[in-house]
């Protein structure tokens, strides 16, 4: 089977090590013999032009730039120090050598992933449809933790709301929400929030909705774990586990 060459999925260098390895290869240098001072200015020019620099990782690139400048300044001293194990240059080179291995493994894993993805398993499609069912076997400890985290976050918001929503009328909000739900049969929470004008109004609305759910006037349904919440009028049927 034809396996395509290693393809990078982003337009950016993944990080400073990625860029350094690129420069070493581009200049046909040997990673075991290179003096990093040689490519410092080239590295800095990439930073100046933001050429291939992942904007969300700029500070990582800059940290390495500082190390490179420091290495270069040391190399300009009258008596350049030797490359002992503790020198910053040796340390960075060791990191680079290790990172080169990481890239090799990544390339191998990517090829394996490509081969495996050609084989379709029976449930592959079905899982897309069965998201709403939580099978005990399929829930990981991490997911359980995620769920708790979501509850805590929600709770934190609630406590905040109790303080900040004094000045607004919950009664009038409740009337407004009730009439909206009566009209459409349900309310998409995110869509509704996006129609509100101020943070204060959003907070009061959210608080009102929580109250209405608590008093069993509404049922809140979350279709997927972190999906949007829809609110429905409560039916007299008891829903239990």
């Amino acid at each position: 089977m034809e396996i395509p060459a290693y393809q990078i999925q982003t337009d950016f260098f993944e990080g400073p090590l990625d860029l350094l390895l690129h420069l070493i290869r581009k200049n046909k240098l040997n990673i075991n013999e290179i003096r990093l001072a040689e490519i410092t200015s080239e590295y800095l020019s990439y930073l100046d032009n933001k050429n291939g620099i992942n904007p969300s990782r700029e500070s990582d690139f800059l940290t390495t730039a500082a190390t490179l400048i420091y290495i270069k300044s040391r190399s300009l001293l009258p008596k350049p120090e030797s490359l002992n194990e503790e020198s910053p240059e040796k340390q960075l080179l060791n990191t680079l050598i290790e990172y080169e291995k990481v890239q090799k493994i990544s390339k191998m894993l990517q090829e394996m992933e490509y081969t495996e993805r050609l084989l379709w398993r029976r449930l592959e499609l079905n899982e897309n449809f069965a998201n709403r069912e939580f099978t005990l076997k399929e829930v990981s400890a991490f997911q359980l933790a995620e769920i708790f985290f979501a509850i805590v976050k929600k709770k934190e918001n609630e406590q905040f709301l109790y303080v900040s929503s004094k000045n607004y009328s919950i009664a009038s909000k409740q009337a407004e929400i009730s009439s909206l739900i009566n009209k459409k049969g349900f309310l998409d929470f995110s869509a509704y929030v996006s129609t509100l004008d101020s943070i204060e109004e959003i907070l009061v609305s959210f608080f009102t909705l929580l109250e209405m759910v608590k008093r069993h006037l509404l049922i809140a349904l979350q279709e997927t774990l972190f999906g949007t919440i829809s609110l429905y009028p409560n039916k007299p049927v008891a829903t239990s586990n």
Binding site: L47, K50, P55, S56, R57, E58, S59, D60, L62, W120, R121, R122, L123, E124, L125, N126, E133, F134, T135, L136, K137, V139, S140, A141, F142, Q143, L144, A145, E146, I147, F148, F149, I151, V152, K154, K155, E158, L210, V213, K214, Q222, L225, S240, N241
Partner: protein, 186 residues
């Protein structure tokens, strides 16, 4: 139909667990003669499934859809093979309740209901029945409400060696609230 088409139909029916409308397959294979297609399918079933003792599957048409199913004579063997474990399903309500017990244990029904914002009697009962939580004591407050904690079965279900392997809230905060790194260039 040629061999490649038959192979593709097998693969499509294998992957899809719901019955498929024959029309969808016809359109995809650019077959226009429905009668002929039906005959071909019948031939495919006879030649490659029914009359082959080494095949365990059949082509079934139900509710207007095509589906691969196991041969009826294998039913008893399949039942015997698969009845060893039955998958229990936990609802989101139970999972929420379980997560609260796991992180807040020992905790009471009132505390659970408060955190979830809904009465949680149902899920608590459900988890007790599944032995994922147990009553570990009584809270020294009026009414002496039961305190709930997780069980050894809980650890087994989630593949944990001990409770310390659950991610901590600090770690989750770190994972979920990764701040944008401040830009140093702009």
């Amino acid at each position: 139909m040629n061999s490649e088409q038959i192979a593709l139909i097998e693969a499509i029916l294998f992957v899809s667990k719901d019955p498929l409308e024959p029309k969808r397959i016809m359109d995809f294979l650019q077959i226009t003669d429905a009668k002929q297609f039906e005959k071909d399918l019948q031939a495919m079933e006879n030649e490659h499934l029914l009359n082959r003792p080494e095949r365990g599957l059949l082509l079934k048409k139900s509710g207007g859809g095509l589906q691969l199913v196991t041969k009826p004579e294998l039913h008893d063997d399949l039942k015997a093979f698969f009845t060893i474990k039955q998958v229990t399903k936990l609802t989101l309500a139970s999972l929420e309740t379980l997560s609260i017990v796991a992180y807040r244990q020992p905790t009471t029904l009132a505390e659970i209901s408060d955190m979830r914002g809904v009465n949680s009697t149902g899920p608590v009962k459900n988890l007790l029945q599944k032995k994922l939580i147990r009553i570990s004591g009584r809270k020294k407050v009026p009414g002496l409400p039961a305190l709930y904690a997780t069980t050894p079965e809980f650890l087994i279900y989630f593949g944990l060696n001990d409770m310390s392997e659950l991610p901590s809230l600090e770690e989750l905060t770190e994972l979920f609230e990764e701040k944008e790194q401040p830009s140093l260039f702009k």
